[in-house]
Symmetry: none
Subunit: 191 residues, 4 copies
């Protein structure tokens, strides 16, 4: 790995960790530099500024997550199995890098609006899957945005509770339970 990329990676790692711990605004560029073992000024060779760094970090991870979920979902047929694949992937990824998810959850409020309208986000991926299932008659016709919200809520809120320490079990242990809840929420629509 070239030196420049190695440094950028160190900065990203330090920043992600601190952002997840203390929040973006409570994390100073000084903290980030200290965590990365470099000088403050060096940050600005790799990022335009703190805001740009947050956005870059959010955007890259958010879209990568969407890509991975999309990839796995594409290998399955039928909504039930697609849900299982996606929820399972989310749970595994969450356990592998909880800081990243904590970061994503924390900054989404400010960052989502900055995403280009046509970006392939997790929200979009799931929406497409749901609309497809409706068209195939797998689940009743229903407002796709509301359906989307239900699935997101069912998956993200347990993750948040874990972050807050209100749930002890690892996310991977909840995978099937969450999948089932998603399936019921979608198939039981009374619309």
């Amino acid at each position: 790995m070239p030196r420049a990329l190695a440094t950028k990676a160190k900065i990203e790692s330090s920043a992600l960790k601190l952002f997840a711990e203390k929040g973006v605004d409570q994390t100073t560029t000084r903290d980030i530099a200290a965590g990365a073992g470099i000088s403050e000024g060096a940050i600005y060779r790799h990022f335009e500024g703190k805001d740009a760094m947050v956005h870059e970090l959010f955007s890259a991870n958010y879209l990568r997550l969407a890509g991975e979920i999309d990839e796995l979902q594409g290998r399955e047929t039928g909504l039930r199995r697609k849900l299982a694949a996606m929820v399972g992937a989310f749970c595994v990824l969450f356990e592998e890098d909880p800081d990243m998810f904590r970061f994503l959850l924390l900054v989404q409020h400010g960052q989502l609006q900055k995403m280009p309208a046509d970006a392939r986000t997790p929200v979009r991926v799931l929406r497409d899957v749901i609309e497809d299932a409706v068209q195939r008659g797998e689940i009743p016709a229903q407002d796709p945005d509301v359906a989307n919200a239900l699935v997101f809520g069912i998956v993200l809120q347990p993750a948040l509770f874990k972050v807050y320490g209100q749930i002890d079990a690892p996310m991977t242990a909840l995978s099937e339970r969450l999948t089932e809840a998603c399936w019921l929420a979608l198939s039981g629509a009374a619309d």
Copy 2:
């Protein structure tokens, strides 16, 4: 209303609105004072400081919400009807003051840990209802924290989507749909 209370109310209202719009850290005491039509210094007659103000605002609204939900739930019998009452109340309250909910969602990350361990929060209220339903045999035995998370996710995520503009319908129109999804998620547990 005495003059002092009126001023405090103006400050709270201004702060809540700005916090919901821009986040706590992006809102300055100057902004709050300007929004309330008072001087910056006057804030400190009514609050110990900005942090205390955020906490007071969060705590009061969070506990009031818990109280109202608890009150309504207590009037009903049976999990299904209790859920309907609580979800319905949430939806109505959300439509009445979306800024307050946006504020609660935004700052919960930092505030939840500052709540006294025995505080009667919405999380506790719901947990008690669920545990009660399990004991009565209305729903299968299951991890109450996970069950809690599912219900919270099903209700809060659509509210978040509304805040982000991803859902157009008013929350009150989704009340029954969300109640049904909660019911299915709890009663369909395979634990």
Copy 3:
């Protein structure tokens, strides 16, 4: 004098002095605050920022100078006497506040372009006087901008030489000599 105005005046005085001494870029806000006997932060209650402060200082003094010269010129009749009045005033003002002139000369490069196109600057005042004299037949027809430049050069360059220490005599002692040179430069045009 109200407190706020007194502080602003102290800042202006400190800044002008330092700008004249070391130049704008070599003068820090810390220097200015120290010179004014206030904290650095206090500057920003009175000025939007350093750039705005420089512009405000330039603009106010430059236009005031124009006003004073215009006023004096207006009391005289005939180009010769108008020139004498303006040059004399410039010399007196220069001796009274050399820092201000040094400041004006130093920053004009960057500030002139920021002046509104219709501002009544010293350049405009003099130009009007010259054009009037041409129309009255007091001096030969000539390019008014070039004529303007000649007069400005004849007056400002000695002031600059004084600032650099290349001239010892006070400007007031040169008043008549400069007036005569201006008159000759304008009346001897071979255009």
Copy 4:
């Protein structure tokens, strides 16, 4: 041209242009390197630092200008013809490289004091010419520094006005007009 000299020339050219455009302090070494198409570090192979570079650039061009003017003046006899030669040369040189003159005018405030006391500057060249003319009885006895300032002002101010866009005509077109004004200013002295 050897490679090293070529690089140094590129740096000088880039720097001069940027200094004239934005001023020394607003020009970063990064800008200069980018303009020269080299790396930032390479600058320090050819100059001790930015300050040294500014000084070198000023000094070299200032003295070269003095030399050229001196050379031309030396070929003529009589103040009138000497003035014509020097003013004419200045105008031609200005049109050939206005950036250089803008640079000289801009940085003279800080650089003049750093010149060795015995340096043969344009100011000295002209002063000698004037003193000689006084001794020969071509013009009345007068303070040579003031006389010097008058000539400098008459020549430089139109150049400045051109830089600011207040004069459209090329300097070369003004050559005779300026020469005549200088002559009148010197010969009409009432001292």
